[in-house]
Amino acid sequence: MSAAAPPLRVIGTPAQRMDALGKVTGSSAYPGDLVRPEMLHLAVVFAHRPHARITALDTSAALAAPGVVAVLTAADVPFNSFGLIVSDQPVLCHDVVRFVGDRVALVVARTAVEAHAAAALVRVEYAPLPVLADPQAALAADAPLLHPAYGSNIIGDFAIRRGDAAAALATADVVVTGEFHTTWQEHAFLQPEAGIAYVDDAERIVIETAGQWLHEDRRQIAAMLQLPEEQVIVRYATIGGAFGGREDLSLQHLLALAAWKLRQPVALVWSREESFIGHPKRHPVTITCTWGATRAGKIIAIEAHAVADGGAYASTSAEVIKVVGLFANSCYEVPNITSTAVAVYTNNIPTGAFRGFGAPQAHFAAEIMLNRLAEALGIDALELRRRNIYREGSIEPTQVALPPGVSALPVLERCIAEAQARFAPPPDLPAHLRYGVGIACGMKNLGYSFGYPEQATASVELLGTDTIERAVVRLGAAEVGQGNHIAMRQIAAEVLGLPLERIFMIYDDTHVAPNAGSASASRLTLVAGRAVYDAAHAALQRWHDEDRPAHATVQYRPPATTPLDPVTTQGKPNYAYGYAAQAVALLVNTITGEVQVQQVLSVHDVGKVINPQQATGQIEGGVVQALGYA
């Protein structure tokens, strides 16, 4: 920022969120709180088996059960497939079920108890099919195809080649190899999926629920019902956490289907068990890799191969696998890399987006490989990191320079210094407890990658006569708990010179708020924040030009990314990265193997912080969620 710029007034302050009062008093309405007495209730008939052919489906007993209004099956679905990237998942299965959570029928009844009782009466006969329990089985030459139309069980694959890794490994002084397995992770957002839907007086289907991207939910629901998007309204209630687990449709489309078919308001509130099988998980990944270095401690080559269990349907697997492949080298510059990755259909629960989106699995393997390399070289692991870590101008595996602002080294140095100052083993430790400290580094992209269309649209309206009395910010961005809306409000207040309480946000409805993209990929503060910033400036200009009430809508498009060249694998994967380093002090119980974390020190380059209290809240929450994963 230039010396002439005025000091920031609102940005950088711990402004309180406007949703806090409702949340601490219990008055905030989450999707499950929207149920009203007159509504019909839904119950989903799940497959509860990994792979089978439906040989008979008899709904008569369920239809005859007390309170039952309808039982919907595949025949009732206008366009019976959906998905975030490819539409490969049936709304209601009619021929084959491919995982335990496949939906087979939808019972509509007067009460939830009646709906669930009748769901147990829907008689489905299945003929078992061979179960592909893991990616290796699915990749076998004679494996049955889960989606025969695709001709393969591969959901997506990815390859990067920089230099000649095989040749470089042959010349390396030290070579280490490793194989790493990660398992599924469940988001376990505290609020299980729920929602209501109804048809309004203008013949529009309205779904009030939770999600991470209003307009994408609308797109998929409109496609399923074969309606124009304008006839579908998705409105988000207060959202009880997401972490990637609400990117896919889970029950929103089922609500829409039932309300549209029956022309009556419907409600569906899932139990924790239904939630567990109802949304995708973090990918289990197997990474095999070989790292080579010179005696002097220069990493010269990496070969890495990752296989991810994508589960029964594609979800975002094809994009996640790219991130797994891209971060095979963590945040170290390596001149020769071959990194390949593949996501595979299996009969497991689908896997998709989860905080980090493939980066945690890749870093887990890479950071341990670096430690092994350090041990083999006899070089301190922190020193080996220092020697190889990305610096300004470093070249990514995709053969382009990193976007400017490469802070990996200062972040690491700060982490080391803080750990030295703050960590100390507990005094008088019993013999069976051993104390240890570990440090690792990492990076993560902000925003969508590899040429995926990236934009956010915001509109700002300034109202008043002589002075600006209030501003209305329209931005279709999901507040999943992360504090995005207070950040957007702070940005608008800063630009407009208004107090926070005179900024009004309209953000929760596809019909009135423009598309800001998803609440994912660490992108909203950066991309939607810039859209709000630009729209506020444009509106302010119009106000000064006496074009009142002043209104401006701005679509912000960040610097373009590109897919990789299929031959050279060159390309610009991302336009921005965040860098982090973490130190963990822990005790290991040598009798039981229990690990007790004592301290975690997490150092992040977050750029200019909009709201420090919310930013630290995100980091603290992310760290503890990651501890659960570890």
């Binding site: 309180q16 601490v24 505290l190 007790q596």
Partner: protein, 483 residues
């Protein structure tokens, strides 16, 4: 749920109901097992006998050289009982590790024994303490050692017409020469099913000295999680008797305990882990006992969220006439409310949706409310159990603190400390935290963590929630609180 809900007020009425509905009823005590199973669909009970009005089964007393615990005694009561601390220390330690604070306010010792889980935390200490159960039927009373009472996983000698009324623990003449210890190994530090749990009761002939280990006179070792039922490690105990409890002796005893293990793989741990950890863990515990370090994990005044035993008399519900007092208002509920949990009743019938449903099994704490002053999981309270109880929900918490008509200090602190992100756990967190602050006005970090250990948050990493509790403690002075 059920279609017939019976709420007897006397033991004789209860046993006559058991006889009348022989084998067709389920007994509902604390509800922390039965209501979970029913909501999961793994148990059905068309007729339920609710014991909540049998207040005579909530007593802890000493009579004729025996510590007598009523079947409805809760872990929270045990935690706060001086009698239990003096005569049944391993049981107190087990209760400290049992579930979370809300579960400890509702679960019962009788329920834990009759549920007969291979890893029920109440069972190893009772077996190590040589406890007996009293079984009452209309034809009389019989007494059986706990070790014999449990015959297989979730199977006991309880006959369909019998009620477990009391647990009897023999009192030792020289308590200072008796040392007990409970050790729980679980995959997390709170709210977790045990992988292995161990209880030891050792009586010494002398206390040993600086260089001499104490001399063992008698020993009982009970181990859960290694066989279909909790095992009494008799050979290991016999080895100890008459010998000084040296580390080497402890290791030998550990090997003998490991010999009786027949563990299985389950979702909590693989069999091989259970087997491998057993011998060194036994040796470790015996070393702790030998050096008098076996009580270090138990605080002097354990955190209990609310009074250990509600003082209010529990009024008996006239048939089909459920009355709730919620946030100071009286509600007369229709008959259909009888078959609900308190959570669904609050949300669906009273429109109090601030109390959240997160798991319906008492693990997440999002449905925490105050029931007669105790923090409980509303998902694990049958609505008729709350008849005429004083219930405070998040919608009524502000008024608990007289000086803050708008917000409770903890609500204010949650806002200021940014302790709510998605906010779905927040009402439950505040109900648990406000209860903690009412009981412990200035809790230390260990007490805060303990008090909130029955509540899960996935957003915040808990740091700002702990900060909010601290800030609220600063904000409020104890005399403003009317628990």
């Amino acid at each position: 749920m059920w279609h017939t809900y019976l709420q007897p007020v006397s033991l004789s009425e209860t046993v006559s109901l058991l006889r009348q509905y022989l084998g067709k009823v389920r007994i509902l005590a604390g509800g922390t097992n039965l209501l979970v199973a029913m909501q999961h669909g793994t148990a059905t009970a068309k007729i339920v006998i609710d014991l909540s009005r049998l207040s005579m089964l909530r007593q802890i007393r000493v009579d004729a050289g025996t510590l007598r615990l009523g079947a409805l005694v809760t872990p929270a009561q045990v935690l706060r009982s001086e009698l239990c601390r003096e005569h049944a220390l391993p049981l107190v330690q087990a209760c400290h590790e049992w579930g979370g604070p809300q579960i400890r306010n509702r679960a019962t010792l009788g329920g834990n024994i009759t549920n007969a889980s291979p890893v029920g935390d109440g069972i190893p200490p009772l077996i190590a303490l040589d406890a007996q159960v009293v079984l009452l039927s209309s034809s009389g009373e019989r007494t059986i050692p706990v070790a014999d009472f449990i015959t297989a996983p979730h199977a006991t000698l309880l006959l369909p017409d019998e009620l477990l009324t009391e647990i009897l623990i023999p009192i030792h003449a020289t308590p200072h020469l008796r040392r007990g210890m409970f050790y729980k190994l679980g995959m997390r530090r709170a709210q977790v099913i045990s992988v292995v749990n161990l209880a030891f009761v050792l009586t010494f002939a002398d206390e040993g000295g600086a260089s001499t280990a104490p001399l063992v006179q008698a020993a009982r070792i009970a181990v859960g999680g290694i066989a279909p039922t909790v095992q009494l490690a008799e050979a290991a105990a016999a080895l100890l008797v008459g010998q000084r409890l040296t580390p080497e002796l402890g290791q030998q005893a550990g090997l003998l305990v490991a010999q009786i293990a027949r563990p299985i793989d389950d979702i909590h741990a693989p069999a091989a882990y259970r087997q491998a950890v057993l011998a060194p863990l036994v040796a470790h515990c015996l070393a702790q006992i030998a050096t008098n370090q076996h009580t270090t994990s138990l605080p002097h005044v354990p955190v209990v969220l609310g009074p250990a035993m509600p003082e209010d008399s529990l009024e008996v519900m006239p048939p089909g006439n459920l009355v709730l007092q919620v946030n100071g208002q009286t509600h007369h509920l229709p008959a259909r409310a009888l078959s609900k949990t308190l959570l669904t009743l609050l949300r669906d019938d009273l429109g109090l949706t601030g109390t959240k449903q997160g798991c319906s099994e008492g693990r997440c704490g999002a449905c925490t409310v105050w029931l007669n002053g105790q923090a409980v999981n509303a998902c694990l309270v049958a609505a008729p159990q709350a008849h005429h109880a004083r219930i405070i929900t998040i919608e009524g918490i502000a008024h608990v603190s007289a000086a803050h008509a708008e917000l409770h200090p903890l609500q204010q602190a949650f806002i200021e400390q940014a302790a709510a992100q998605c906010g779905y756990c927040t009402p439950g967190m505040i109900m648990a935290g406000a209860r903690l602050l009412a009981d412990v006005p200035h809790p230390d970090e260990a007490q805060i963590r303990r008090g909130l250990s029955g509540n899960l948050c996935r957003c915040t990493g808990y740091q700002k929630i702990i900060a909010a509790i601290r800030a609220a403690a600063q904000m409020q002075s104890p005399d403003e609180v009317q628990p």
